[in-house]
Amino acid sequence: MSDADADGPTETVGEVRADGGSSDDSGGAFGSAIERGEDVPLLTGSGEYTDDISLRGTTHLAIRRSEHAHARIEGVDTSDAEAIDGVIAVFTGEDVVESGVPNTIPTAWDLPGLVQPQYRMLATDKVRHEGTAVAAVVAETRHAAHDAIEHVSVEYEPLEHVTDPVEAVERDVPPVHEEAEDNVAFDFELGDADATDEAFADADRVASVDLRQPRIIPNAMEPRAALADWEEATGKLRLWMTSQNPHLHRMLLSAGTLGLPENKIQVIAPEVGGGFGSKIYHYPDEAVTAWCSMQLGRPVKWQATRSESYLTDCHGRDHVTTGEIALDDDGTIRGVRVETHAGLGAQLSQFGTATPSYLYATVLSGQYTIPAIHCRVVGAFTNTTPVDAYRGAGRAEGIYVIERLVDVGARELEMDPAELRRRNLVQPDEFPYESAAALVYDSGEYERAMDLALEHVDYDALRERQRELRDEGRYLGIGIGNFIESAGLSPSGLAGDLGAQAGGWESSIVRFDSTGSVTVLAGTADQGQGHRTTYAQVAAEELGVSVDDVTVVEGDTDRIPQGMGTYGSRSASVGGGSIARGAREVREKARRIAAHQLEASVDDIEFDEGEFHVAGAPDRSLHIQTIAHEAYLGHDLPEGMDPGLEETNFYDPENFTYPFGTHVAVVEVEPETGEIEIERYVAVDDCGEIINPMIVEGQVHGGIAQGIGAALYEGAAYDDEGHLRTRRMDEYAVPHATQLPDFETDNTVTPSPHNPIGVKGVGESATIAATPTVVSAVADALEPFGVEHLDMPITPESVWRATEGDR
């Protein structure tokens, strides 16, 4: 992906620091741990999530879902359901087809040779996974709607199913889609196969690992929901929904699904209760809600139950991988070879193709100089819930593979795993660094962050203690996770070259009003990240006003004309970058007004903490908020200047940003019971410049929790019938407060040279880091038992089984 960086860095921001604190020494808004402006409504119960909103005459939608993993639909009888008191209408897939709307749930990322089967709002021919939407009931009350779906009678002819991505392509099973007889949606390759073969032939040693990365169910605390209101008179649809990207939802609903122009759709994301990827996607359910409102001319609300979330929210991961690493005896990594079967589920979700291909294979170089890399990914249809990006998306899976490989490589060489890592780190003077996996890393000080993390745990002393404890029959494990993340999705042209069907830019409007207060309209959409606070800090810093003077508005496509949304750790870097650039344009217009009114040349006007003054004459000054007033009065503006003080900005990043860091976990494993106790967890993250250290730390905490969850507790499973076994919160282990330790966090600060504010982003970093770190720690603890690797989730049972041979 060198194209994106062909012009080189445009701006260098600051220098590397390892102070872990404020990244702005001037004491301004940027870099302060200020409290969040969004908290009070959420603390008092007045914040409005989608289900909290009701319109006059709101009706309720319930969706009948298939109980079969794979079956042909022979017939749907709705008459009993229609007879239920309070039922307004029952719709089937045929009804949607007959309505004449485009009726497709489009994918947003193409790949060479990709098989793209039909994906409709309600199934008509076959159901391809348990939970497929088959019929929709709209009733006066939620109870009546849920009662009635039980009375929709669907006749099925069950078919043989497959849930495992390897079996799907290797076993002779009926295809999920007729278009893909072998269940292969794509066969993707990245890197240089010949060079990699050569590196392996020449290397002193080869180590390998077979691993599975199980399905993760995102489990945002708020299940998905939608409230649609079709206004027949104007032909306009208003749709409140749990969206991470309302503009993307507007676009996908418009073009492929409902056949409405974008300007007749208003998507509103009110408070959104977590996402972690699951609320990026254009699902059938929200589209059906909108379609039902269009049929009935009444507001329709759909609120998923938690069971529906488990069955229909896109799952994450589902990789089966063989990885190999070629090494010289001195610890030089010569090459990495990876083959993965990635389960895509029964349908191609929006980014379901990008996640296991480009977002995965491109990070396989990790923090290391690896001359030869080759990766093949077979994307397989299975009779399961569609798989798409979950926090860390692709990068998490890739870093997991390279970090496991480095660990097994260290074991092969009998070298300390920290030392093997150190010998291969990309050095600071090698940036921009073009990896053999086709990325150009922007900046990094990998060894500095790793040293800091190892210092926090006093690594050498810890290894000594580990030896002593082993002599006493106690098993301490030290896990190290070095990571990079390709964040800040994404340079549009590059993304387009790779198959994206949408841009990667972000848009914002920065607007002064005549009283001197500022409104920032941002195209991203918060689900807990605190944008209203951090964006206000960015704008306040650029404009020299107080954070309290800035109001941030997100999540409404009628108020914010354009945007791409919040995913891929992009909001701080791409959204924040857009706001900073827009604010600078506003400031420059204000400077021209100041020069005019102070009767000085523009070049002589200096700007300091909101005040424009003439160089050398500090008493001749005007505050930017006064100029805002003047800009709207329009009485005395420079010749030819239009009134008003606002700018619309589109920011298309020139490259990804590359957050990085090192996490260290110290665990004690009790082989007799298989219990794993996390004694310490240290995270050193470098996310570039830090807008708000409190919020960065919060993102790291939450990310670690999800990474530990994947490593030790979570994981979806299907039974022999193709039914999801983990379909309730008492069957799927979202970590509780008692299952997690306190985390110790620190930062180094290596600004991104190409981002307008030097930030790299931090949304997914800690999840990417924590999973391999914890698995590494457990494997390290079990070294005396000859255990090199255990698949996730590492449960007491799996530990016990892995060690029982020695008893």
């Binding site: 409290e35 959420l42 119960g45 945002a220 939450g702 979202v734 407060a737 985390f743």
Partner: protein, 159 residues
């Protein structure tokens, strides 16, 4: 379906309403009475987003029928602040960044508030046990524990 008339007091205000026998307390609070602070996250009593207090005890209002609450005193997150002034616990949640998306927060606050009435000098381990029935997917819990601990310290100083 038959309907029942019940009377519940919510945050000191008495309400008369008619519910189906199967109506959950959380639905009555949210849909009938407009107390939308308590959230529904799982409908199985696991996540705790719907936690409220009934006659002084925390309950998960998705596992309680509205008719069971006939005559009860219910307290919800909307009652924690006093005339717009946040309670000490709410303030500490903001100060320690004990919430991100906020969906679990009403339930978390009700569990923590009740716990602090019973244990005014808790250890961090006791705090973690006290909120074990409230799931949070955003924060990793540490800042929530910090906020509850800081509230206990503050209340201790005031005694």
């Amino acid at each position: 379906m038959s309907e029942h008339s019940i009377s519940v007091t919510v945050n000191g205000t008495q309400h008369e309403l008619t519910v189906e026998p199967r109506t959950l307390l959380v639905s009555a609070l949210r849909d009938e009475l407009g107390y939308t602070g308590a959230n529904v996250g799982c409908e199985t009593g696991r996540c705790g987003a719907c936690t409220v207090r009934e006659n002084g005890e925390t309950i998960k209002s998705c596992t309680r029928l509205a008719v069971q609450a006939d005559g009860a005193e219910i307290e919800t997150v909307e009652g924690l602040a006093d005339d717009g002034d946040l309670s000490a616990l709410q303030e500490r949640f903001q100060e320690h960044h004990g919430l991100q998306c906020g969906y679990c927060t009403p339930g978390m606050l009700m569990s923590a508030d009740t716990f602090l009435r019973e244990n005014d000098d808790p250890s961090r381990e006791e705090i973690r046990e006290a909120i074990e029935g409230n799931l949070c997917r955003c924060t990793g819990y540490q800042n929530i524990v910090d906020a509850i601990e800081a509230t206990a310290d503050q209340l201790g100083e005031q005694r």
